[in-house]
């Protein structure tokens, strides 16, 4: 089967590719060398391109994604736009112009990626230009690294961008619906990329080939392909399946599709789950969130993934599906060992269910070397219900302190039934410091990790003291 792709408005057949060929490598081989490889793991954004995705209004959303993390075959039939498709030296795009005249580029190597990330934000339909500002959300560029400028001129360029002009040549294309993922089979170099039409067919493949590597956004699998040279023989795409990309509310449950990209989830929740809202901005970068999914973050079973602590605090349950039916397991039982889970090889993580109503008091704290777009040394999520000054329900999810994400069961038990006072919090903080089995590594020492656990609770209490006491600022 041929893989075709529309790049900057021109449809190209991709030849000589394998299931492991990334969009970035192919673009560069095609002579579109504006997109660069800076890290090959979605940290620097030099490879950013615009992916056209079907918008909720029937048109097209331009989303910035890391070209290094997208298997080309996964984009069969879809449309991308690269930096070359935005403007030329003789006719700069407004984003390009704003960066160029303000000293936004020095060596220029990261610049195409910044242009792309900024262009995605420039066209974001929800961005509102008012007298108070242009609505440019700087998190659009938090996944782009620049080693030369110190970022100030890039920020300034972002903040002067107006709304797209009526004559903007991209606007007509944004009115048309973008093509979505298409059923695909590509076999080359001893490996196969497969995207089946339906969930049933996908599950059938999974039952037949238990070694298949399930691919949603690709932000984790592709890192293994790029950096560790993993060459999974079967990549099975699930990102297009409606059963995996829904969002459903019932009076007692919120069900989140396992393959719903986090940016979509954030937009569609629009603040209704405050704990998730506190978490989204601290999870990688927008470039990653535009592809990454809860299913992927849970399925990989990493002890330092940031969604498990949050979902543990939300008492979430994991919905696993296979040809033999569906089962639901509590997330707290899902992780069985280092990068091991309860998921059987023939099962897919179909959804995550969060019980309602939510515990009213919640918070997420991430300790890392860098404020944004870093991997946690420690991540702690709290969800408490305090009634009449007494803790009636406590859930604390932890990441980075054991071989798996875990709940702080001892601390939870010590809190439940107790008054929500500074003394109780302090006693609980000491217990929390001793939960898990933190290790020394290049991110942090074990002692620091332990200290951060206790301090997370001290801070959480400080920010949410018992009614009647004042929060120190």
């Amino acid at each position: 089967m041929d893989v075709t792709l529309t790049v900057n408005g021109v449809t190209r057949a991709a030849t000589g590719i394998t299931p492991h060929t990334s969009l970035l490598h192919w673009l560069r081989r095609e002579g579109l060398t504006g997109s660069k490889e800076g890290c090959a793991e979605g940290e620097c954004g030099a490879c950013a391109v615009l992916l056209s995705r079907p918008g909720e209004d029937g048109g097209t959303r331009l989303e910035s994604v890391n070209g290094c993390l997208l298997p080309l075959a996964a984009l069969n039939g879809q449309e991308v736009r690269t930096v070359e498709g935005l403007g030329t030296p003789a006719a700069l795009h407004p984003v390009q112009e704003a960066l160029a005249v303000r000293g936004g580029s020095q060596c220029g190597y990261c610049t195409p990626g910044f242009v792309v990330s900024m262009a995605a934000e420039y066209y974001r339909p929800e961005r509102e230009v008012t007298e108070d500002g242009n609505g440019f959300a700087l998190d659009a560029v938090h996944g782009n690294l620049c080693r030369c400028t110190g970022y100030r001129p890039i920020r300034d360029a972002a903040q002067v961008l107006g709304r797209p002009a009526q004559a903007d040549p991209l606007l007509p294309a944004l009115q048309r619906p973008a093509p979505g993922p298409r059923a695909t089979r590509l076999t080359a170099d001893g490996a196969t990329f497969l995207r089946e039409e339906t969930l049933q067919d996908t599950l059938r493949v999974l039952q037949e080939y238990p070694d298949a590597r399930v691919l949603a956004g690709g932000t984790d699998v592709s890192v293994e392909v790029n950096l560790r040279h993993a060459r999974p023989p079967l990549l099975l795409a699930v990102d297009h399946l409606p059963d995996l990309t829904g969002l459903h509310w019932t009076p007692d449950t919120l069900e989140i599709g396992a393959a719903l990209p986090l940016s979509d989830l954030q937009r569609r929740l629009s603040g209704r789950v405050p704990l998730l809202d506190a978490w989204f901005p601290l999870f990688a970068s927008r470039l990653i969130r535009n592809r990454a999914t809860l299913g992927g973050n849970l399925g990989t079973g990493s002890p330092i993934g940031d969604s498990p602590p949050v979902l543990l605090a939300l008492d979430a349950r994991v919905v696993l599906t296979s040809l033999s039916g569906e089962r639901e397991v509590p997330l707290s039982a899902f992780f069985t060992g280092y990068r091991q889970t309860l998921r059987r090889p023939d099962e897919l993580i179909r959804a995550v269910r969060v019980p309602l109503p939510l515990a009213p008091l919640s918070g997420f704290q991430k300790i890392a070397k860098r404020h944004l777009d870093d991997i946690s040394s420690v991540a702690v999520a709290f969800a408490l219900r305090v009634e009449d000054g007494v803790v009636r329900h406590a859930r604390i999810g932890l990441g980075g302190v054991a071989a798996t994400p875990l709940r702080a069961l001892i601390t939870e038990a010590a809190l439940e039934g107790q008054p929500w006072t500074a003394e109780v919090a302090e006693r609980a903080a000491r217990l929390l410091s001793a939960e898990g089995t933190p290790q020394d590594d290049h991110r942090a020492s074990a002692a620091y990790r332990a200290a951060m656990l206790g301090n997370a609770l001290r801070r959480f209490h400080g920010e949410h003291p018992a009614p009647g006491t004042e929060a120190p600022v």
Binding site: T33, A100, G104, Q106, Y109, H371, Y448, N455
Partner: protein
């Protein structure tokens, strides 16, 4: 006109964007690895990296690699027709039989695709005899595992000075290095061109040396090898020495196979194979008088040079020449030793040892402030600094007069005022009194940085300028463009010198067959040196044109003016003729319309054995004020505001210089607060491996580390006589302005101490949130010294 004087209507001084800005933002700017797609029959190179820090290669059999489909050849030592070495000290074998660091390349596989080359490298059979490895700086210093010279800078009699000091303190400070993390990794592309020469495109700051290494590996004279550097995606010193071997591998492959060879390191290869900023260890004893004046400084300074010398001796020399930063110290004795460890060979990095020297003294001063207070000598960190500033007439410990020392005081006082330092000190005090878990800190630090290569011979440059018959101008010079805006400045210099608009001038890529025997684009000297050479070439042409114009305008050649593409009689712009028309006439009169320019920095001398002389043409000065806020729960912090006043002379290109200052500052802040190189020092199988070998484990400053408020001013009326158009170098000095961030963190940490218990605050470097946390934890407990600095983290952890 003298070198520093500017004609009226000069193009230098205009705030123009980077000459390639429009190419950068459209993706049209080409870098070395973008060129491969244009070549047919390209081969891809992939290294076999050793999995040990120190081992003998007992056997290396490339046979199985050749059986991998697509593999064409495996390059080994046996293939080298010339010298099997990639360095200038002959201690860096290109194809080694002794592994000296984890990840060292032993051989290179060439294949039709990168994938095939990688599989081929994995198939090569190697047997190792694993040897004992020395990894830490401390261990190397204790074992006296040194390499190269161990120079001492001295003045006066340090023992007499210490004996005569009212207050003497000792301390130790070990701090980390830094990965360059240019966004473009090392890359080379080689082919044998239609004339039979070896043509290498290389991402290199030092094309001439790349050319020389390629030639000596291939056993060819230099004239048979041409190296071109279009532009680099960042260099920062990391491409001064490191690219040579990669270029040589590509060139060797091309010459053996007859096919073009592409070599591009991926990020992990670049991190694990190339050198970094040197980590340091310093042990010092400092003496002060009753007024907190420095009397004496004795120090032993050790750098971690890695497995080979590279530029480590020169880096150490610059450390010793900057250890006193902006301060006059009567009695000095500082010895530097380069340690040999089984790590990548550490190399040049923006500042080149200067930052390390300055960091030692700045750390020392701040640590001594509370120690002096305990002895009844009360000075603030800013007072002890200003009190010790050089004044005019004083000389450095190595004997160089400190030219324009008064600028230090001027900058300091102006910045204190402009930043509202005194009022903000009160605001910080008030904030800290009112907040339970957060503390703010404020600090000001100075920079005095010597400009010129310590290695005197490098202070020369060449240029080649052509004026074509239509009046268009093409310039070539020996400097390379890595984002610093050198080419932009050179276009401005040429336009100024010839009196034409910038649009009339084009700049051609840096190539060794146009301008030979160039120095590295390094030491911040690119614009000083190449600007001098470009100006020289342009003035030669202009004086020939003036002679032609004098005839047509009936004036003396001295009275011909060149401005904005018009040529006229002094005082009579109405007589103007077009530059292009004049050029045409000049050609018809058989006038030479091109010239080679040359510049050598006058007045330099340096005795590297005695460590005495005047190695620098001048000093660049600056100061910065930083304000931080530290979270007491985690040690995390934000950089609230930065104010900088910096001396670039009369700026050649203000937008470029502003970018250098801001970018250098943030890069320096990254070194001091965030960027954390960790090696596996366990006895496990990964011993010696760089644990932070990817972008996900080695974190650069991102948007979240940018100062919330960032105000940078250039010192006004700052003409530097003796430098092209009165300017000063700007590439490196701003890195060290970031020391104020670290001192502001120390100030905030001290504010966690219970009232009356503030003592010496020791802060690890980089001051990561964890390091700041242990420091503030110690301050809270009133011990001053975080146990974690000494190795073991505290057993008991207390809350805020």
């Amino acid at each position: 006109m003298t070198l520093h004087e500017r004609p009226t209507a000069s193009v230098v001084g205009e705030a123009v964007p980077h000459e390639s800005a429009a190419l950068h933002v459209t993706g049209a700017a080409l870098y070395t690895d973008d060129l491969g797609v244009r070549l047919h029959n390209l081969l891809h190179a992939w290294p076999l990296q050793a999995p040990h820090a120190h081992a003998r290669v007992v056997r290396l059999d490339p046979g199985p690699a050749l059986a991998v489909p697509g593999v064409v050849r495996v390059l080994t030592a046996a293939d080298v027709p010339g010298v099997n070495d990639a360095g200038v000290k002959h201690d860096e074998p290109l194809f080694p039989d002794l592994v000296q660091f984890h990840g060292q390349a032993l051989c290179w596989v060439l294949a039709d695709s990168e994938e095939a080359a990688r599989r081929g490298a994995a198939a090569v059979l190697v047997e190792y005899e694993v040897l004992e490895a020395v990894l830490t700086l401390r261990e190397a210093a204790e074992r006296e595992s040194f390499q190269g010279a161990r120079p001492t800078v001295s003045r006066g009699d340090v023992q007499v000075g210490l004996d005569g000091s009212a207050h003497v303190f000792s301390g130790e400070f070990e701090f980390g290095g830094q990965e360059h993390f240019y966004l473009e990794t090392n890359a080379a592309l080689a082919h044998i061109d239609e004339s039979g020469q070896v043509f290498v495109q290389s991402s290199t700051q030092h094309p001439t040396e790349t050319q020389e290494i390629v030639a000596h590996v291939l056993g060819l004279p230099s004239h048979a090898v041409t190296v071109q550097c279009l532009r680099m995606g960042g260099g920062f010193g990391g491409k001064e020495m490191q690219p040579h071997g990669f270029a040589a591998v590509a060139a060797l492959g091309a010459s053996l196979t007859g096919r073009p060879v592409r070599l591009r390191l991926n990020r992990t290869q670049d991190l694990t194979m190339t050198g970094k900023r040197h980590p340091y260890l310093a042990r010092w004893t400092a003496g002060f008088d009753e007024q907190a004046h420095f009397v004496a400084l004795r120090a032993e300074v050790y750098s971690d040079g890695g497995y080979s010398l590279d530029l480590s001796e020169a880096v150490m020399a610059r450390t010793l020449c900057h250890i006193e930063n902006a301060y006059f110290i009567p009695h000095v004795q500082v010895r530097g030793s380069v340690c040999r460890t089984h790590k990548t060979s550490q190399t040049a990095f923006r500042g080149f040892g200067g930052p390390q020297g300055m960091l030692i003294v700045e750390d020392l001063l701040s640590r001594c402030v509370p120690l002096l207070a305990a002895r009844g000598v009360h000075v603030t960190p800013e007072e002890i600094r200003a009190r010790n500033f050089y004044v005019d007439g004083q000389t450095t410990p190595y004997g160089q007069p400190v030219k324009d020392a008064d600028r230090l005081q001027t900058i300091w006082e102006t910045l204190l005022t402009r930043s509202g330092y005194a009022e903000r000190r009160e605001e910080v005090r008030a904030f800290n009194a009112a907040h339970g878990s957060r503390r703010r800190g404020l600090a000001i630090t100075p920079v005095k940085f010597g400009i010129s290569f310590n290695f005197t011979s490098y202070n020369q440059a060449g240029a080649l300028v052509h004026v074509y018959k239509d009046g268009s101008v093409l310039i070539n010079h020996g400097g390379t463009e890595m984002g610093q805006g050198l080419h932009t400045k050179m276009l401005q210099v040429a336009a100024t010198a010839l009196g034409v608009p910038m649009s009339a001038v084009r700049l051609a890529p840096t190539r060794t067959d146009k301008v030979p025997n160039t120095s590295a684009t390094a030491a911040s000297s690119g614009a000083d040196l190449n600007g001098g050479a470009v100006r020289d070439a342009c003035l030669q042409i202009r004086s020939r044109l003036a002679a032609v114009a004098a005839g047509r305008l009936s004036v003396h050649p001295d009275d011909v003016r060149f401005e904005a593409g018009r040529v006229f009689r002094l005082g009579h712009p109405d007589t103007a003729i077009d530059f292009a028309a004049l050029v045409h006439h000049a050609y018809m009169e058989r006038t030479q319309l091109w010239a080679a320019g040359f510049y050598r920095t006058p007045g330099l001398h340096w005795d590297r054995e005695a460590m005495r002389g005047e190695p620098f043409k001048y000093f660049a000065y600056g100061a910065s004020v930083s304000e931080v806020e530290v979270d007491g729960y985690s040690g995390a912090y934000t950089l609230r505001r930065v104010d900088i006043l910096h001396d670039v002379g009369d700026s050649l290109s203000p937008l470029i210089d502003l970018g250098q200052i801001e970018g250098g500052f943030v890069q320096g802040a990254g070194w001091l607060t965030l960027e954390d190189l960790r090696w596996d020092t366990s006895d496990g199988p990964g011993r010696g491996r760089l644990a932070t070998s990817s972008a996900s484990t080695y974190k650069l400053p991102s948007f979240s580390e940018m100062p919330e408020v960032f105000r940078v001013d250039l010192l006004e009326r700052a003409t530097e006589t003796g430098v092209v158009y009165g300017s000063k170098a700007v590439g490196e000095p701003p890195v060290m302005l970031a020391i104020s961030v670290r001192e502001a963190l120390r100030d905030a940490v001290a504010a966690f101490a219970p009232a009356g218990t503030a003592g010496e605050v020791r802060l690890a470097s980089p001051a990561t949130p964890e390091a700041v946390y242990w420091a503030l934890d110690a301050a809270r407990r009133g011990t001053g010294t975080p146990d974690a600095v000494a190795g073991e983290p505290p057993a008991a952890v207390s809350g805020p």
